[in-house]
């Protein structure tokens, strides 16, 4: 990979609030009635919001591998989406330098009515690939997913294992400088997992910055140099991966079994 500018992520004082528009809250009627009764101004300030991220600050440089740990609803996925530029912060600032690929949704852009091949091409186009790059993407994904003749049949008739393989192969075919990954990536069926692991590690090794949100202790231990423990949308602890992991788990982390693939060296 040619080295252009180096990747860097700067997050300072970022907060993300979710407005809650559930039920009748989300209706025009309520707003119109509120405006008519002169409560609109007050209403918009008293709007119910979920504080998904509160005052998050950190910097990541080329070579950093950050693990995000914390219970469900701690704001890990929201933070990944914010880094990907999907949610724009309501407070603070965010600067992300470098090409970015976020593996957030396993079936991203996958249309069950299209064939495997069409899905691959569509995904390539989403990423702005040129025609030759699209052909390479097709070859790479087809080879890894081992779909054979199924590649030209609609995805809806695939077995669930085949869908997982296709989705995984697609998501990992595009190599960015900054890789954001949600935990679903580490789950998979047993036959496939070993092959997937090799490919994923290759991708992780190729990325300059990795941000991984996970519950899997081993993933943080093996892949991350730094960890952030999130709780209720705030950073509870930020430091070296093992230290943070141990205080999050409340117990010592098991040493890595020697026969596993060695942890990726940093770039």
């Amino acid at each position: 990979m040619t080295m252009g500018s180096t990747a860097r992520i700067d997050v300072s004082g970022v907060s993300v609030f979710f407005p809650l528009y559930h039920g009748t809250n989300r209706s025009l009627k309520k707003t119109v009635f509120a405006a008519a009764s002169g409560r609109l101004g007050q209403d918009s300030h008293n709007r119910v919001v979920v504080q998904a991220l509160r005052d998050i600050s950190f910097t990541l440089n080329s070579g950093d591998r950050l693990g995000l740990v914390g219970s469900n609803g701690a704001g890990k996925t929201t933070l990944l989406r914010t880094l990907a530029g999907i949610y724009e912060p309501v407070m603070g600032r965010l600067r992300v330098q470098g090409s970015l690929n976020a593996l957030l949704d396993p079936n991203l852009g996958m249309n069950p009515d299209l064939t495997g091949r069409e899905n691959i091409r569509l995904r390539g186009q989403y990423n702005g690939l040129t025609a030759p790059a699209l052909r390479r993407l097709e070859g790479d994904v087809a080879e890894f997913a081992e779909l054979g003749d199924f590649l030209d049949l609609p995805v809806r008739i695939y077995s669930s294992g085949m869908v997982v393989r296709l989705a995984f192969a697609l998501a990992t075919a595009i190599r960015p400088q900054i890789l954001l990954m949600d935990e679903w990536f580490l789950a998979g069926d047993a036959n496939f997992i070993e092959k997937a692991r090799v490919r994923l590690e290759d991708m992780v090794r190729g990325a300059e910055i990795l941000v991984l949100s996970t519950h899997a202790e081993a993933a943080v231990r093996d892949w991350c140099t730094r960890a952030i423990w999130m709780e209720q949308g705030q950073i509870k602890e930020d430091g070296p991966a093992l230290e943070v992991l141990e205080s999050y788990l409340g117990r010592p982390v098991q040493a890595k079994p020697p026969e596993l693939v060695p942890a990726p060296e940093t770039v």
Binding site: R93, D113, D140
Partner: protein
């Protein structure tokens, strides 16, 4: 392992920089909205592919495919043509080309507007998993509806051929008119798409308005029927926008008031849509 070359400067290019700040002055908001539109049109081909796939998948497995649209429009035009030429006591030869054109163009109008309401909500999964220009989704909806229109144009050509009535040179005026339509289409989709993701009860209201507009505008009835009250026609935005395309294709030059009204209403639509987009673009991901 394959290394893939990326072409688009963002988000996969190595020099890509994404800078987001909560300090959203009008200048920053405007710049980001402009960026969204530029990026969206740079991805026009993707938008076109998505729109085309929508149509292909909608008619998956059917024998005639999207030509069912052509057929049903043809039947509709024939039936309404016979009925109303009798009711209005107009000669079929002068009524049917008018009706075919009006109905097809109106169907495009109304489908575009109703479809625009779900522009962002239907792409929820994509919006939440990848930063993409929002205009891309509007392009998708526009392309999808233009493709439907293209299938219905066959009916217009058929009717014109039956009566061997072709518009004269004045027909070239449709080109600037269609350009105006293209701009309006994106504007109306963005406007309604954004508004409807925030307020979920807008789509039925839009549906009722379009139905009302269908009867109130000269679509099945000829504008001449208004006689002395025909000066009110350019007040109706639907009439003006329809007439600037329909008139030239029927070989009639629309009045300058019609043109002025069409341009004025388009400007108004674009300004409102632009202001709303600048204001809410960053919030759309939270609303869908």
């Amino acid at each position: 392992m394959t290394l893939l070359a990326q072409t688009r400067p963002d988000p996969l290019a190595r020099n890509a920089v994404l800078e987001l700040t909560s300090d959203m002055s009008a200048g920053i908001r405007t710049r980001m909205a402009v960026q969204d539109i530029v990026d969206g049109f740079r991805l026009f081909r993707l938008g076109a592919v998505l729109g085309w796939l929508d149509i292909r998948l909608r008619y998956r497995g059917s024998v005639l495919g999207p030509f069912w649209l052509t057929l049903s429009t043809a039947v509709m035009v024939a039936a309404l043509g016979l009925l109303y030429s009798t009711l209005f006591k107009i000669e079929l030869r002068s009524y049917l080309p008018f009706l075919a054109l009006s109905l097809v163009l109106w169907n495009f109008f109304s489908a575009l507007v109703t479809d625009g309401c779900t522009c962002f909500t239907e792409s929820e999964a994509m919006i939440r998993s990848m930063r993409m220009p929002y205009v891309l989704y509007a392009i998708r909806v526009a392309v999808r509806n233009v493709l439907v229109l293209a299938h219905n144009i066959i009916v217009i050509v058929g009717v014109f051929a039956i009566f061997w009535m072709w518009p004269g040179k004045v027909a070239v005026l449709v080109l600037p008119a269609l350009l105006l339509w293209a701009v309006d289409a994106i504007a109306v989709i963005v406007l309604l798409g954004a508004f409807c993701s925030r307020f979920r009860d807008i789509p039925p209201i839009v549906g009722s308005i379009m139905q009302l507009a269908f009867f109130m505008s000269p679509i099945i009835w000829k504008p001449e029927l208004l006689a002395s009250k025909s000066w009110t026609l350019p007040l109706n935005p639907f009439y003006s926008l329809l007439e600037i395309v329909r008139g030239p294709l029927l070989g009639e030059m629309p009045t300058k008031y019609t043109f002025a009204s069409a341009i004025l209403y388009s400007l108004l639509l674009c300004v409102i849509s632009w202001l709303l987009f600048v204001r809410v673009r960053g919030r759309l991901a939270f609303w869908v």
